[in-house]
Structures are given as C-alpha cells and as structure tokens.
C-alpha cells in the first residue's frame, strides 16, 4: 500500500516536473529560439493555425450556439415568473464572456486538438521520427512543440470570442420565444457586459491554451510500448487536460474575485 502511494506520487512528480520542463523549453523556443537558433515557424505555424482554428470553428460554433439556446430555455421561464425575463440577455452575456465561452471552447479543443497533438506526436515518437530529429540536431521542442504552442495560443482566444458571440446569438434567438425583441436583447447584452468581463474570459483562454498544448505534447513524448501505449497516453492526456483546465479556471476565478 505504502509502496503504491510512493509509486503514484513519484509518477505524479515525474509528470509535473516533465510538463514544467517542457513549458520552460517551449517558452525559450517561442521567445528566444527564433533569434538564436534556426526555426521555421513561418512554414509550420499557419497550417497548424488553420487545423486548430478554422477546422474547429464549426464544432465550437455549434456547441456555443446550442448552449446559448439551452441557457435561455432553462433560465427564461424562471425569470418570467418574476417578470424579469429581459434580464436573461445579461445573464447569458456575462456567463458566456466570463465562464462558458472560454471553458467550453477549451473543452472542445481538448477533445479535438489536444487528442490530435498526443496521437500525432506520439506516433512520431513510436516510429522514431522524434529520435531522427534529435539525431539530425533539430530540437523536437523547437520543431514540433513551439509551432503548436503559438498556433493554439493565437487560435483559442479567437475561437473563444467567436463562441461568446455565437452563444449570445443562440440566446437571442431563444429570447424571441419569450417575446424579447432581438434588438432590445442585443442592446441589453451590450449594456450588461463590461470590458473586464470580456478580458477575463480571453485571459483564461490563454491559460487554457498553454495547459492543452503542454499536457498533450508532454504525454506524446512519454509514449512507450507501441499502439497500446499511444492509446493509453492519449486518454491520459485528454483526462489530465480537462481536469487541469477546470482547476486553472477555478483558481483564476478565485484569484480574480479576491483581487476585485
């Protein structure tokens, strides 16, 4: 029992240390690498941004829109009882800007992009492509991780902003069933929202992007034991990213509350 706990703790610290080390090296390759070493970000970042951003847009838009619809459906009838149904626009706007937009977009990207990062780089690890890069004196963090880091760091906040707009759009559509005029709904939403609400959501999405990229790439480089190990690490990567995204969200919100 004691040895099992010790083993689990050792594994936890090994992964935590590995992720921190990878994060540090990625920061080097993103900010200092281009000035000191050979990099090809111009060649690799834009296709990745397309794969992360453009190709995730449809699913993010659909999920955000539907959640906006459901949120109004669930809360509208309660507010209607108190004659406050017009307040629903503010509720949707603030919930999306502060919480649902960044969190839901991150969850979609954990499944769609994080899993793809672990599976893709993990396959490269198994087929010795990562070793081949090292042998060619091409740093795998600079060549593989840094472009992914830049791409997701740019695209996740963009997708979050789109998710906010579409979630509010879904709420607006559903609001019409409660007799709320769409223009009045939009006016109310803008009135309720503050710049701080929008910025806090976007700031969170930057943190979520870091978590998704570092966890998924770290788990890919730790793949051992062929396809079975790849499947296991992809699953661990998705679960760890989801849990960490929610923990980071909680910590950020608590910190924000304390500061304000």
């Amino acid at each position: 029992m004691v040895s099992r706990v010790a083993r689990t703790l050792a594994l936890f610290f090994s992964h935590a240390g590995g992720m921190f080390h990878l994060f540090r090296r990625t920061l080097y390759w993103v900010f200092l690498g281009p000035f000191r070493e050979k990099t090809e970000y111009r060649r690799s970042v834009f296709p990745l941004m397309e794969a992360i951003g453009n190709k995730s847009f449809g699913i993010v838009a659909l999920v955000a829109f539907l959640i906006g619809v459901i949120l109004v459906l669930q809360t509208g009838y309660m507010l209607e009882k108190f004659g406050q149904v017009r307040q629903v626009s503010g509720l949707v706007a603030i919930t999306f800007a502060r919480e649902l937009g960044p969190l839901m977009t991150a969850i979609v990207l954990v499944a769609r992009v994080g899993a793809a990062f672990t599976a893709g780089l993990g396959t490269m690890q198994i087929s010795e492509e990562v070793l081949a890069l090292r042998i060619m004196s091409i740093n795998p963090v600079g060549y593989l991780v840094a472009p992914r880091f830049i791409a997701i760091l740019v695209m996740l906040p963009c997708l979050t902003i789109f998710a906010n707009v579409l979630g509010m759009g879904g709420g607006c559509l559903m609001g019409t069933t409660y007799g709320i005029d769409p223009w009045a709904y939009i006016d109310d939403s803008i009135g309720f929202l503050t710049v701080a609400d929008l910025l806090s959501g976007v700031a969170k999405s930057f943190l979520f992007a870091i978590v998704i990229c570092i966890v998924s790439c770290h788990m890919a480089f730790r793949v051992e034991g062929g396809p079975e190990g790849l499947a296991r690490n992809t699953m661990i990567s998705v679960v760890t990213s989801l849990v960490l995204v929610i923990i980071v969200d909680g910590l950020f919100t608590a910190l924000q509350r304390n500061l304000s």
Binding site: K38, T123, M124, S127, E128, E129, A132, I135, M136, S137
Partner: protein, 264 residues
C-alpha cells in the same frame, strides 16, 4: 588507417537486466563494419549508444575524437553532425514529401539558398535511385523506397559515418540487394564509414570488411568475413548456418519447462 569509432568496455543495464557488458571494438575509417546478432542480443542498445541517443552506464564511446559518454550536450550536437542514421523503418517525417525530408537537415544546418538546396536534394535522391519519387509522401512509397529515402536524408550533409539499423528487415531479396549495393557504393564513392546493425547473415557477408557477433550483450566473435567463417565456436557456427539447435537457445530447456510446470 585510424579508428573513427572506438568502444571501450561499454556496459548498459536496463531495469536490472544487463543489455551490454564489456563491449569493446574499434571501427577503422572508410570501412564497412557489421554488428551481427540475434534478436535481443543488444544490437539496438549498442546502436543507440553509438548515435548518442542513450548514454552508456560505464565505458567509453569515442566518435572521431569525441567521447560521447562524457561529452556535454553541445559537444554531442556537434558530433551528431558527423554522422547520419538509417533507421529501421526509415523514420521519415510523414507530413513531409520525400524531397522535403531530404532537404530538412540541409535547411536547418546550412544557409544555402533554396535553389541550391533543391539541386543538392535531387543529387542525393539520384544517388539512391529515387529522383522520380521526390514529390511523394512516405506513406505513398514502398518499404524499400522509404529506406532509400531515409538513406538519402542520412547522407544529405555528407557525414563521415553512416549507421544502419537493420537495413534489410522487412524487405524482399531484390530490395535487400539494392540497399546492400548502395552501402558498398557509398563507401567506395564517398569514402564513408558504414556501421551496419543486422541479423541478416547473407547481406552482412556481402557488405562487411569486419564483423562483430553480439550474443547476450557480449562480443562472441570478431574478425573479417573469412575469420568468422573459419571460426569453430559452436555459437558462431550456429548463427552462420542458421540452425535451430545449438547454444543460441530460442526455447527454454526441458528441465526449465518441467520446473516451470511444477512451480519448482
């Protein structure tokens, strides 16, 4: 001739199991050196140590004057530019075309203009007979072509040593002969030193100037092809003749089997 690679008393242990023990040999510059051995004999570990992917627990691994067992990361980076590696399955980057794969090390380690790199890539691919496959992805070509493309990438920066990890595995006899001819050609035309890890006795004899036979992490025999052929050691004889019975036991002994059954 001088030695370009020297291994002195190399030892490596993985999880309490000895993978290599007291392995010493030297590879002369401009020769074809073959490391033979059965599966699980320590060949792959030895290759990983020689290409500095894994550090030895003890002993010295000297590549062209640099001791890889004590070298700093920067020294290892420098040493790596002196050699190329043909990996067992090619290890080409699947997202890049064959030409882009070959161009990759040139782009990263030189400041040559793209037009010059294109010409160099065409020359390397011509050398391995793959110029017509330059725009294909690795998934669109055969296993033999993948190995040749990987060889073109390995020689892209004109290294002094090329390591080959099981160059004939998974290939038909014709593709095997093509790879063997290429290895011999590279030595004679470019003066390269080739270090080939294989269990294929026939291609080993075609290529080798010198052979080392590894058995359970130790050197069982070393010499020229003639010396290995004349070696009377039963283990060497069994490996050369490919006999199922002999000191290279694939199955456990009858006694071990009975003990195992009876939980003794």
């Amino acid at each position: 001739m001088s030695a370009i690679i020297e291994l002195r008393h190399v030892r490596k242990v993985f999880g309490g199991q000895v993978a290599l023990d007291d392995v010493s040999f030297s590879v002369e510059k401009g020769t074809n050196f073959v490391i033979l051995g059965a599966s699980g004999g320590g060949k792959s570990t030895l290759l990983k140590i020689m290409i500095s992917a894994v550090r030895a627990d003890a002993g010295e691994v000297i590549l062209d004057g640099t001791d890889l067992s004590t070298a700093s990361d920067a020294e290892i980076e420098d040493a790596r530019r002196k050699f190329g590696v043909l990996f067992q399955d090619g290890a080409l980057l699947n997202s890049l075309t064959v030409a882009e794969n070959v161009a990759l090390p040139i782009r990263y380690h030189t400041k040559l203009p793209p037009e010059t790199i294109d010409i160099m890539v065409k020359m390397k691919l011509e050398q391995v007979g793959l110029r017509n496959a330059e725009s294909k992805l690795p998934s669109q070509i055969s296993g033999g072509m993948r190995k040749r493309a990987s060889l073109a990438r390995a020689i892209a920066l004109d290294p002094t040593v090329v390591f080959y990890d099981e160059p004939s595995s998974g290939l038909d006899p014709v593709a095997t002969a093509v790879i063997s001819d290429l290895i011999i050609d590279l030595r004679s035309k470019m003066g390269l030193t080739n270090v080939v890890i294989t269990h294929d006795i026939q291609s080993a004899f075609e290529i080798a100037d010198r052979i080392v036979l590894l058995h359970r992490g130790r050197i069982a025999a070393e010499g020229t092809m003639r010396e290995i052929l004349q070696n009377e050691d039963p283990l060497v004889r069994q490996f050369i003749t490919g006999s199922a019975s002999g000191p290279l036991e694939v199955r456990s002994s009858d006694l071990e089997y009975y003990n195992d059954l009876l939980n003794l």
